[in-house]
Symmetry: C2
Subunit: 208 residues, 2 copies
């Protein structure tokens, strides 16, 4: 039996469009017959390399204004609750991303990630403080305090640094990003369908 | 009889995704029952206000690399010829934009604009020099030399400046941008369908 094609989904809790992608990737991937590997990472270090000290949506106010309106429209189209803009935006996602990287390939990674996104973009609550991350873990039946402690150990910090360098070396510069088995890169929630089709072997005419 | 809804299509010849939008907006708008008003403008002054001296696709190399691959994929999906990357990119579009602004609401504006885009992104030829713009105009049966001369008069330069300020004041920060009759702004070729639906009165649930 042929191996099921896989799409890597690189996401960041501070990224609003990662939330939209996280909300719909499972159903879309199932329909396309593609497995998804969730890959949490931190955007901050990649943005810093580009000379950005915060989100481009903050750096460029006109772009930011339309982005939040676009989020409202897209969330409504996807049947999601009204979007709550995190305050401050972007949220410091370090604790949550560390936990997600610690949970890489664990069965709780996806529910945890979706809960963090919902807390931030639909619940209007902070995800920055340790207590916020612990509460989300606890709500999933995990020992939040214990998991956060393990996620803060040096071994896991290294794992996160390696993930960030992997992102950089594979050409990632924003989130969400989708990577097919052959390394083909698709950037942005708007490219989810193209990425799944590519992963499933369905290429645009004339392209390899 | 009710007035047909209109969508303004703000585009720039130096913008690669404006080319993709220009190639498909007529058919898509007809299907949606929406009239399109083509609005040529210059992005450079708006980028300069954001501190950019060139295209963001040049400023951020990883972003630029994926953008050209994305263009290849999207063009293939739209059934367009293989994309030729203008050299240099972006092309100096001042002469062509001046002519388009001069031709605002003339029946040759759309064929001229599509010909400029095709020359730049499918023909692999320059659109920067006066001679290039004249040749395109001539190929449409116009007197290219005469039109270019009229487009370079002060009155038309002022018309272009006013268009750029209108773009800025209406929240435009990139191209292509679509503006509905009520001022709702949609940025990017990926938003064409949403913009047409909005213009036709079809809003996402719960949104006004």
């Amino acid at each position: 039996m042929a191996r099921q094609p896989t799409l890597e989904f690189w996401y960041e809790f501070a990224s609003a469009y990662s939330y939209l992608a996280a909300s719909r990737i499972e159903a879309a991937a199932q329909e396309a017959g593609v497995a998804v590997r969730w890959r949490p990472f931190l955007l901050g270090p990649l943005f810093a390399s580009q000379g950005w000290t915060t989100s481009p949506f903050n750096l460029y106010p006109a772009k930011g204004r339309n982005m939040w309106r676009d989020m409202e429209r897209c969330a409504a189209s996807q049947g999601l609750p009204p979007v709550t803009k995190p305050d401050p935006f972007p949220q410091n996602s370090l604790n949550a991303v560390r936990v997600a990287v610690y949970g890489q390939d664990q069965d709780w990674l996806v529910p945890f990630s979706k809960a963090v996104f919902a807390t931030s973009y639909a619940g209007g609550k902070s995800i920055a403080e340790p207590a916020a991350v612990i509460a989300i873990l606890d709500s999933l039946g995990l020992d939040g305090t214990q998991v956060l402690k393990a996620a803060a150990l040096d071994a896991n910090k290294t794992k996160l640094r390696v993930a960030i360098e992997e992102a950089r070396s594979r050409g990632i510069y924003g989130a969400p990003t989708f990577l097919a088995d052959d390394g083909e890169l698709f950037w942005g929630n708007d490219r989810l369908e193209q990425a799944l089709a590519w992963a499933a072997g369905d290429r645009p005419p004339g392209l390899r």
